[in-house]
């Protein structure tokens, strides 16, 4: 079990967003979390990458190690958990290359960094063409590629993806998922959050469904695709 | 905790009218018994001026006496009268609810003014502090229009205030006073107090016009850059006045007539609160908020953003100018140095301490900082450690200020608490 989450509670001020979530992800798997707006999907990812604090009693373990004792930057630097946040959050005032350099801030393995960089540019040739451009001037799809590539560079034992398809043209969406498959094939576990449930379930091996901060369903992706409740609520009958 | 809850329960049914009655009782007690009996018995040299804080800090031995004084003169009368008369005052409040709200507001205000008048009448220092505090209230509300409601970081307020102060001073000196600077008065001095409101308005109007220097660049630039423009404006005004020798230059102007009496200032404060309240609660005024939160969206929602910005600056500057005019006639001396960075820091402290986007917040901010500044006088230097520390804590725990995004609701305020 690579990632194990037990009894995860999170609140924003007085608003309780997660009420005790339990799930786990095996190494090399692609797992998706689906749910309506505001269900708590992004919150789950943020809790894992320590962008927000979890409440007392929550357990998040990575390869048996307690994540909660690390701060957000250590989670990336020490454990190799990378997070593609909602809304991309690329650094618009830095060039594409600088975004990549920054992602490797805590890494010491110079050679591997070079290899990773080359691999990312091979995966997204568009980025290599624009490597000296300010990231803020990239188109939406390019920014999304940068966000994924950058996350990959910061460490890639497991990648947390928050709605990578948001606002992408259909054709780009396909490219993006191809790329993610490739990343997974090379050994990165993927935990994917998506609004586009059909796409996500087609892509993933297993899936979880969150409603109002609670886990309500889990199972093989294909079985969820056939589940009548899921169909009705998330796939559009 | 338990006590606090009990206390709250006991007094939750006292209406505003009841509290005012209590305060009136307290002030009457002080007026008639304060000097000759209570303070004498307690061994105080005089009636303590700001609830005794000054005496306490200067001579700590007096602390028990002062506390006893406050208890006997203020706390006990206010609480007992408020509590005892609650049934009666609730009835009154109930019947006041039936008359038009403006009438009931006026009744409350008259009562409130009466109390203040008595309280301030006991000692001229109190009176002066009260006057300057009210000017601070006007000033803080007016800067809140720009920095809070409209969301700019404007540093030009001392400049607006200076313009208002100088224009009003020049007018009163030219029109009503025989002085060295402008010679014979043009009008009989008896007219002065009657025309004083127009003079203040003129000061405000010129300040409002001068604010265009900041408002017009604000079409193209916002935030930090505008902060610099407004700061430059402040320096420009100061330097311009220093160069105008016919109005005294750096030396300043003095001998303004004594027109800024307590009732005059009180009326202006209430007028400011009333007009600014009306404005910021109307759609026209809420456009300020819209422009602050998202200018582009406002444009697309038909809001005239340029006009709105100009209004915000001119409106804020107008009241700052009025406050400046009042200030000049309280102090009866102004010089450019009065309107400098130090004043800016003070105004900013008041508005951000009190709370953005809220008139009550501004009142609270102005009153607390003004009174704190006076009350901590005996600490001399340490005052300037304590006040900043308080401000830092407020900013950390309430980043928008003590009371922010909250408007006055007169109806609720004066409501009868009979359940």
């Amino acid at each position: 079990m690579q990632l194990k989450i037990k009894n995860l509670h999170v609140s924003y001020g007085n608003i309780k967003a997660l009420h005790g979530i339990n799930f786990s992800v095996e190494a090399g798997e692609i797992v998706t979390v689906i749910g309506a707006n505001g269900a708590g999907k992004s919150t789950t990812l943020r809790a894992i990458s320590r962008m927000i604090p979890s409440e007392e009693g929550s357990v998040i373990e990575f390869n048996g190690e307690n994540i909660l004792k690390y701060s957000a930057d250590k989670v990336v630097a020490k454990l190799g958990i990378c997070h593609v946040p909602e809304g991309r959050r690329i650094f618009g005032n830095l060039t594409v290359t600088e975004n990549f350099i920054l992602a490797t801030f805590a890494r010491k393995d110079k050679n591997q960094i070079k290899k990773d960089q080359k691999w990312v540019f091979d995966l997204f040739p568009r980025l290599e063409e624009r490597k000296d451009q300010l990231a803020g001037t990239l188109s939406g799809g390019e920014q999304q590629m940068l966000a994924v590539g950058r996350a990959y560079m910061s460490g890639h034992k497991i990648m947390l993806l928050d709605e990578p398809s948001m606002g992408l043209a259909p054709i780009l969406m396909l490219d993006m998922f191809e790329a993610l498959k490739e990343i997974n094939r090379l050994g990165t576990t993927i935990l994917l959050v998506e609004q586009n449930a059909r796409l996500a379930l087609k892509f993933a091996q297993r899936g979880y469904v969150i409603e109002n901060g609670e886990l309500v369903l889990e199972g093989e992706a294909s079985s969820l695709l056939d589940n009548p409740d899921v169909k009705k609520a998330y796939l559009g009958a | 905790m338990e006590i606090a809850r009990k206390f709250k329960n006991t007094f939750s049914m006292v209406p505003m009218f009841g509290w005012l009655s209590g305060a009136l009782a307290a002030v009457l007690v002080e007026y008639f018994l304060g000097y000759n009996y209570i303070s004498l018995v307690l061994g105080l040299p005089k009636i303590p001026v700001l609830f005794g804080t000054l005496i306490m800090l200067k001579t700590p031995i007096m602390i028990p006496s002062v506390l006893a004084y406050d208890l006997i003169v203020y706390i006990i009368p206010v609480l007992t009268v408020a509590k005892l008369t609650a049934p009666a005052t609730n009835k009154i409040a109930g019947s006041l609810e039936k008359i038009p709200i403006w009438l009931s507001t006026i009744i409350h205000l008259v009562l409130f003014y009466g109390i203040m008048h008595l309280w301030a009448g006991i000692n001229d220092y109190r009176l002066l502090v009260l006057k300057l505090t009210m000017v601070s209230i006007i000033l803080t509300i007016s800067i809140n229009v720009i920095n809070g409601y409209q969301g700019e970081f404007s540093c030009s307020h001392p400049g607006f205030m200076a313009v208002g102060a100088y224009v009003a001073s020049i007018l009163t000196l030219v029109l009503f006073v025989n002085d060295k600077m402008f010679g014979q008065a043009l009008l009989p001095a008896e007219l002065g107090p009657w025309l004083f409101p127009f003079i203040l308005i003129a000061g405000g109007a010129v300040a409002a016009l001068s604010s265009l220097i900041v408002a017009i660049p604000s079409f193209r630039t916002r935030g930090d850059y505008l902060a610099i423009i407004s700061l430059a404006f402040m320096f420009i005004v100061k330097s311009a006045i220093e160069n105008m020798n016919f109005i005294g230059g750096a030396r300043g102007m003095s001998s303004q007539p004594d027109y800024a009496s307590l009732p005059v200032i009180f009326c202006w404060t209430i007028l400011t609160i009333w007009i600014v309240h009306n404005f910021v609660t109307s759609i026209m005024g809420k456009a300020l908020n819209a422009v602050r939160d998202d200018e582009a969206a406002s444009e697309s929602m038909t809001v005239k953003t340029k006009k709105t910005k100009i209004i915000a600056f001119m409106f804020g500057a107008f009241w700052a100018g009025v406050a400046g005019g009042l200030f000049a006639h309280i102090l009866r001396f102004i010089n450019p140095g009065t309107f400098s960075i130090q004043r800016l820091a003070e105004i900013l402290a008041m508005v951000y301490f009190g709370g953005l986007n809220s008139i009550i917040g501004s009142i609270v901010g102005a009153v607390s900082i003004s009174l704190l500044g006076e009350a901590l006088r005996p600490l001399e230097l340490f005052k300037w450690i304590i006040i900043p520390l308080i401000l830092i804590f407020v900013m950390i725990y309430r980043p928008y200020g003590l009371i922010s995004f909250k408007e006055i609701n007169v109806k609720k305020l004066f409501r009868s608490k009979n359940k």
Partner: protein, 368 residues
């Protein structure tokens, strides 16, 4: 009432703000005075000894604060007399308050005529700008025989600006219009005067007059030297602080300024005061301290001369004022004083030379 009558003396001083050193000198001088009174068991008025209290208020170097401080001391603390504020910017508005409440106020250091003008209750302890300006101008003309002078002053500050104007008028009266070849200014808290000094140097001026405070003088003198200025630099009473030369060092040696008193080589009561102050606080008192001391002694004499204290503060205050106005030939440590109608003392100015040891040496005395 049954309250004990205590004589309260208010001190309105800039303890914080721009010129805290002035506030400090004021406070120390006042405390020394109080010590003396206490040693004597109080102040004797009309055969009765009264306890004396000091009420020291900070005016933060701000005019509104000075007004508040005066109002507080008068209406709340019931002070009998007020000493201060020091700078004209605060003394002018604060004097208005004192006069309105018919309370005697003595500003030790304010040289602006407006402070006492038409205010029967306001006095001062020093000479005025219109007197000092010509004194300096005449001194330079007599001493050096120069005909072209430059002035450098702070336009935003009341005192330097006023004095610069008076000096200019006096100089041009003697040497003709245009004999002030450079009349340059800066703003409070500026520290770089290179542009103005470059201009002054180019103007061909033979002497530079700069009526600035002790924090600017060292900078002006040093920068002038750095820019190749070799002529004398002359100042006014605001140079009088011991810090001027301490901060300035050698470049200031040999310069002249007009003042109320000269510390080096002082004799008698003046020396006594200087030594006592120096012992208590570790430095030579500046003119502010000396003038404050004199102002307090003046107040003391007026109170003693008032006849008797009725305990009714309004009456007593007026009695003190009348007594003060009558004071003749008061022997202060900064010179002998007699008040004019306006409440300004007629007293001599001293030209001080900063000698090679950096001491303030008496050079000559100019009397009106």
């Amino acid at each position: 009432g049954d309250r004990e009558t205590v004589i309260k003396v208010g001190i309105n001083a800039p303890l914080t703000g721009d010129i805290p050193k002035v506030g400090e000198g004021t406070k120390y001088a006042a405390q020394m005075w109080l010590e003396d009174i206490e040693k004597a068991g109080g102040l004797e008025v009309g055969g009765k000894k009264y306890k004396v209290e000091l009420v020291i208020e900070d005016n933060e170097s701000k005019s509104d604060s000075a007004v508040k401080a005066n109002t507080k001391m008068i209406t709340q603390d019931d002070v009998l007399v007020i000493v201060g504020p020091q700078s004209s910017a605060q003394a002018v508005p604060a004097g208005e308050v004192a006069n309105n409440y018919k309370t005697t106020m003595i500003s030790p250091w304010s040289t602006n005529p407006a402070t006492t003008l038409d205010r029967p209750y306001v006095f001062r302890g020093c000479f005025l700008d219109p007197f000092q300006g010509p004194v300096v101008a005449n001194f330079i003309i007599e001493e050096f025989g120069f005909t072209k002078a430059a002035v450098l002053y702070d336009v935003a500050s009341d005192y330097p600006k006023g004095l610069a104007e008076v000096f200019k008028a006096a100089w041009e009266k003697k040497n003709g219009a245009g004999s002030i070849v450079a009349y340059e200014s800066f703003t409070t808290k500026d520290t770089d005067f290179s542009s103005q000094l470059t201009k002054i140097k180019r103007s061909g001026a033979q002497v530079l007059f700069t009526p600035q405070y002790y924090n600017e003088v060292p900078l002006i003198v040093k920068q002038a030297k750095d820019l190749g200025w070799t002529g004398p630099i002359v100042g006014s009473d605001s140079w009088g602080s011991a810090e001027t030369v301490e901060l300035c060092g050698e470049p200031c040696y040999g310069q002249f300024f007009s003042s109320h008193y000269a510390a080096a080589g002082a004799k008698g009561a003046t020396k006594e005061f200087i030594d006592r102050y120096n012992k208590a606080h570790g430095y030579i008192p500046d003119d502010v301290a000396a003038l404050t001391w004199d102002a307090l002694r003046l107040a003391q004499q007026a109170i003693e001369n008032a006849g008797e204290l009725t305990g009714k503060i309004e009456t007593d205050r007026t009695a003190v004022r009348d007594a003060l106005a009558k004071v003749k030939d008061f022997a202060g440590i900064t010179g002998n004083m007699t008040f004019t109608e306006e409440g300004d003392p007629i007293k001599c100015a001293v030209i001080v030379k900063i000698n090679d040891k950096g001491e303030y040496e008496f050079y000559k005395s100019v009397c009106p």
